[in-house]
């Protein structure tokens, strides 16, 4: 009983009945407590049930509350006898039963976390989040480097900007796109590096020979030029706070005034619009044979100061050459002289070219002839070779026949015999070889077959191994997962509050079950005993009756004649009757004993009901109700 009370008190605590703390049994519950607890339970069970859990002081109100509670309990499904009296004049047993019923009806807490999918998902989310929180965060571009980009370059064309405004684009600018569109993304950086290097070398004064006027270089690019050990290439330490201008100045060294690198040039154009460009720079041309180079130099010089002729239709960035600088005016006389010289030399060149072309044709023809003669020779050699071979064979044959010619007939016979003999021998040898060969061939075939079979077996085994391995992997993964699960569940289990534990309940239940089992066995035994006793009783009764009847018969027969037997007979009858009476009294005592026991039990119950107390209470209450009624009537009457 105590455990039951504990359980009930525990659940009542859970639902919020603070009065129940510290109580150990239901006896300690007052009526108010009982009502409060019931109402709370009912509210939880049936949220619609609106009743305050405070027991009203007025008698009639109490009466009403009691009946309503009772009705609700009945409506829920309580099958016992219930009425307002159980609440107002509570008997411990009834109260216990009611509470047991209500507590059972309380919606269960979900103690068991089922392994639904949503739970698994939530667990997984929690795990991942925990992991992420443990590692440091890095922005996406700090991720470990991708593999390096291969160094592939493509020629880049940076157009010369027209002097002055950005708006008026030169022909170049229209032609060439932005550099990042000229090449692919991966190749942009290497190409830029290459371009820069080449321009730097071109611009550096220590590498190339500069011409007199210092605007055109026939650069003799040597291997040393690419050695950065050359000090002039390495700029002096550039201070960090220098502006872009200063940096460019330092890097290009003294080349600012006369040999401007194209970058400086371009940069100036971009950022300043007012500077005069003294001289334009032409792109680097690889070295030409000396006489042509000299010529070209002169041409270029001349061209700088005259509009571009039709011969030179290169992508000339010097479209603005007309706006020449002041130095052009000074050299105009020189130009004319040079023009004449230039014409003369041009004529010479043309003549030379035509001569060369003629020679070329002549050589071509000769080449053709030589080719043909080669063909002829090849054909000849081939034919000669084959005829040669044939003739050698024939000569040999004829030699041999000549030797044999004297005794022609004989030798022919001999030859024929020899031929036959050798063919015979060959056939014999062939037979011998055949004997050896056949088993060997069979052996080869057999071995091949066995080899394929073993291969097949091996393949199968390899397959099996692979299967096993994969299964092993699966199983190990499963075990890992299960281990993880175990860990998680253990932590959760620990964190779960331990109430009035289920263990004690289960233990108790098991004990009760065991005891009941034992009791059942006892009862069975007792029943059997009782049955046995009853049987013996019946047997004996029967025996007695039979003996009596048998004795009766015997003696009755004799009793007619003998006095003694008559007496005996009378004694027998009386004996029988007395015994019967004894038996009956014993039975009655037994019955009465049973009734006594029952009555004792009922007495106990009645005592438990506190009937007297309750009656007194009821009387009091009845009086109260009457009084209240009277008061209310009075009030009404007053109104």
């Amino acid at each position: 009983m105590e455990e039951v009370d504990q359980i009930i008190i525990g659940s009542l605590l859970n639902i919020g009945c603070e009065f129940a703390e510290g109580m150990t049994s239901l006896k300690q519950f007052t009526t108010e407590n009982v009502v409060e607890a019931t109402v709370k339970c009912l509210r939880i069970i049936n949220p619609d049930y609106k009743m305050s859990h405070i027991f009203p002081p007025g008698m009639s109100a109490r009466f009403r509350v009691g009946t309503s509670i009772a009705n609700t309990c009945k409506s829920i499904g309580y099958q016992g006898d219930i009425g307002y009296q159980t609440f107002l004049y509570s008997a411990e047993r009834d109260v216990r039963q009611i509470f047991m019923f209500l507590v059972e009806k309380l919606p269960r807490k979900e103690g068991v976390k089922e392994d639904t999918e949503s739970n698994v998902l939530q667990r997984r989310i929690g795990q991942v989040l925990r992991e992420k929180c443990s590692t440091m965060w890095m922005p996406f571009y700090c991720k470990p480097l991708i593999e390096g980009v291969p160094f592939r370059t493509q020629p880049l064309f940076i157009p010369k900007y027209s002097k002055g405004h950005r708006n008026s684009k030169s022909q170049d600018e229209k032609k060439y796109d932005y550099i990042h569109r000229q090449v692919e993304h991966d190749e942009l950086t290497p190409s830029l590096l290459e371009l820069n290097c080449s321009q730097l070398i071109a611009a550096s004064p220590t590498i190339g020979k500069t011409s007199k006027q210092g605007d055109m270089k026939t650069t003799k690019v040597t291997k040393e030029a690419f050695h950065w050990k050359d000090k002039s290439m390495v700029p002096d330490a550039i201070p960090f706070d220098s502006s872009l201008d200063e940096v460019i100045q330092i890097v290009t060294g003294q080349s600012l005034k006369t040999n401007r690198s194209r970058f400086a040039h371009a940069k100036d154009l971009q950022f300043t619009t007012d500077k005069h460009k003294p001289l334009q720079i032409r792109p680097v041309i690889p070295q030409k044979p000396s006489h042509l180079a000299k010529l070209e130099n002169k041409e270029i010089d001349g061209e700088h100061l005259t509009p571009p002729t039709k011969d030179r239709t290169q992508d000339d960035p010097t479209s603005s050459v007309d706006e020449a600088s002041s130095s052009a005016d000074v050299a105009k006389d020189q130009e004319e002289l040079e023009e004449i010289r230039f014409q003369r030399e041009e004529d010479e060149m043309n003549k030379m070219i035509s001569d060369v072309v003629e020679d070329e044709e002549k050589y071509k023809e000769d080449l053709k002839m030589v080719e043909m003669s080669m063909k002829q020779i090849v054909v000849n050699t081939q034919e000669l070779e084959s005829t040669n071979e044939e003739r050698i064979k024939q000569v040999k044959l004829k030699e041999k026949t000549l030797k044999l010619l004297p005794n022609a007939e004989e030798n022919m016979e001999k030859l024929k015999a020899m031929v036959d003999a050798s063919s015979q021998r060959l056939v014999e040898l062939g037979k011998l070889w055949e004997e050896k060969r056949i088993p060997l061939v069979a052996e080869i075939r057999r071995l091949k077959q066995s080899k394929t079979e073993t291969e097949f077996d091996a393949e199968r085994k390899v397959e099996e191994i692979r299967l096993l391995r994969s299964r092993m992997k699966d199983v190990s993964e499963e075990t890992k997962q299960k281990d993880q699960l175990i860990k998680q569940l253990k932590t959760e289990l620990d964190s779960v509050k331990r109430d009035i534990s289920r263990q004690s309940y289960t233990r108790r239940i098991l004990e009760i079950v065991a005891s009941i089992h034992k009791q059942k066995q006892e009862i069975q035994r007792v029943i059997e005993d009782v049955k046995l006793v009853q049987k013996t009783m019946n047997k004996l009764k029967g025996r007695a009756n039979r003996t009596f009847s048998a004795a009766d018969e015997v003696i009755f027969r004799d009793a007619k004649q003998d006095e003694g037997s008559k007496q005996a007979y009378k004694y027998l009858v009386s004996l029988h009757d007395n015994c019967a009476a004894l038996l009956k009294t014993v039975e009655e005592t037994g019955l009465i004993m049973r009734e006594i026991r029952d009555l004792e039990g009922q007495i106990d119950i009645e005592i438990g009901k506190n009937a007297e107390e309750n009656l007194e209470k009821i009387l009091k209450d009845y009086k109260e109700v009457k009084r209240e009624n009277a008061e209310m009537i009075k009030k009404l009457k007053k109104k």
Binding site: M369, Q376, S386, L397, L426, G430, E434, R445
Partner: protein, 354 residues
């Protein structure tokens, strides 16, 4: 001498496990020759591909020797246990497919019945020594009854010319001028027929060693072919030779002939060509003309040409006709004709330089 034209005989077997084996040879073959012969034997091809079909009889040339391969499947009952197919390979010096076809058939019958190569050896020796051998079906095989002339004219040149029409003048020129010709056809039997007919265009030379009827894409063969100054090569797969290796590409399936750029000069057509071309096409279309007559007709035209050529030259001390380039140039002919005549003279070994 015809008797000594047979060089070797070999047997290749394919057994039930799809294993290929070279089972027997007489007298002997080098590894090189064996490799070549195996590649030509269709048993060594993958059965799963299309080429796995058995082509009963093939022939081809390698290093001045002719290989003739005859393949057949063993039919029950046979003394050959666990053998599904076998090939008999004959190596000879002369070109005579018919002769060798018959011979290989005879030998294969013997082999199938007896499963004993010694029988083959006997027959082989008889052919080598006497020139005759017994056929299984009560016949006698006589070497002499197969003349090379017949072999040369067996393949129908007329059909070839009909396939290409007027373009066959290119073929004629190329063969006459000893150039490199590549013939392509996807079917092996047709390829063999076509290629063996082509040297008949230069009948006056009677030289069938220029034709390599079937060349596969293998290093061994291609190395040997590339060393030659001129050839007629047949292949069943495209792109066996690079365009530098041939002057004329003949696609027998489509009936097209393509000239390589570097040979365009030598193959330009002139009046002479038109003449010959007309005659060729005429004869070819004429149904009553037999193959022999057709070949004869073309040979006529060729001799005309050669006569004309030699008339340009002069006799030298040895009584031979010699032509020198000046002679040809002095005739002041059309440059195309000039080139053609010069090339022809070279091919016929009539040209002499100073």
């Amino acid at each position: 001498m015809e008797l000594s034209s047979l060089q070797a005989v070999g047997i290749v077997e394919k057994d039930t496990d799809n294993g290929l084996m070279w089972t027997w040879t007489y007298p002997s073959l080098t590894a090189d020759q064996k490799e070549y012969a195996l590649s030509k034997c269709c048993l060594s091809w993958d059965i799963k591909t299309e080429k796995g079909k058995i082509v009963p009889f093939v022939f081809s040339q390698y290093r001045k020797q002719w290989y003739y391969v005859f393949t057949m499947a063993t039919s029950e009952p046979t003394a050959l246990k666990s053998v599904t197919f076998f090939s008999i390979i004959l190596v000879g010096n002369d070109f005579n497919p018919e002769k060798y076809a018959v011979l290989t058939r005879i030998l294969s019958k013997y082999y199938e019945e007896s499963a004993n190569p010694v029988r083959i050896l006997e027959q082989y020796l008889m052919v080598v020594t006497k020139g005759v051998c017994q056929s299984n079906s009560n016949g006698v095989f006589k070497v002499n009854s197969f003349s090379s002339q017949k072999a040369f004219t067996t393949a129908s040149l007329k059909d070839v010319i009909n396939t290409f029409g007027i373009q066959s003048i290119l073929l004629y020129t190329a063969i006459l001028l000893k150039m490199k010709v590549l013939v392509y056809h996807s079917k092996l039997e047709l390829l063999l027929e076509i290629t063996r007919a082509l040297p008949a265009l230069a009948w006056h030379r009677q030289d069938w060693s220029v034709v390599y009827p079937w060349v596969q894409d293998r290093q061994q063969e291609l190395n040997a072919v590339r060393k030659l100054p001129h050839y007629v090569v047949g292949c069943t797969v495209e792109n066996v030779l690079t365009p530098d290796d041939f002057d004329l590409y003949v696609n027998a399936e489509d009936g097209t002939i393509t000239v390589s750029p570097h040979a365009k000069e030598s193959l330009t057509m002139g009046k002479l060509h038109k003449d010959v071309a007309k005659k060729m096409v005429e004869l070819a279309e004429n149904e009553t003309v037999t193959n022999q007559q057709f070949i004869a007709g073309i040979a006529e035209k060729t001799t005309e040409l050669l006569e004309k050529l030699s008339s340009l030259g002069s006799e030298n001390s040895a009584g031979e006709t010699i032509i020198s380039p000046d002679h040809i140039k002095s005739k002041d002919l059309h440059p195309n004709t000039e080139t053609f005549l010069m090339n022809l003279a070279i091919a016929e070994r009539l040209l002499k330089f100073d």
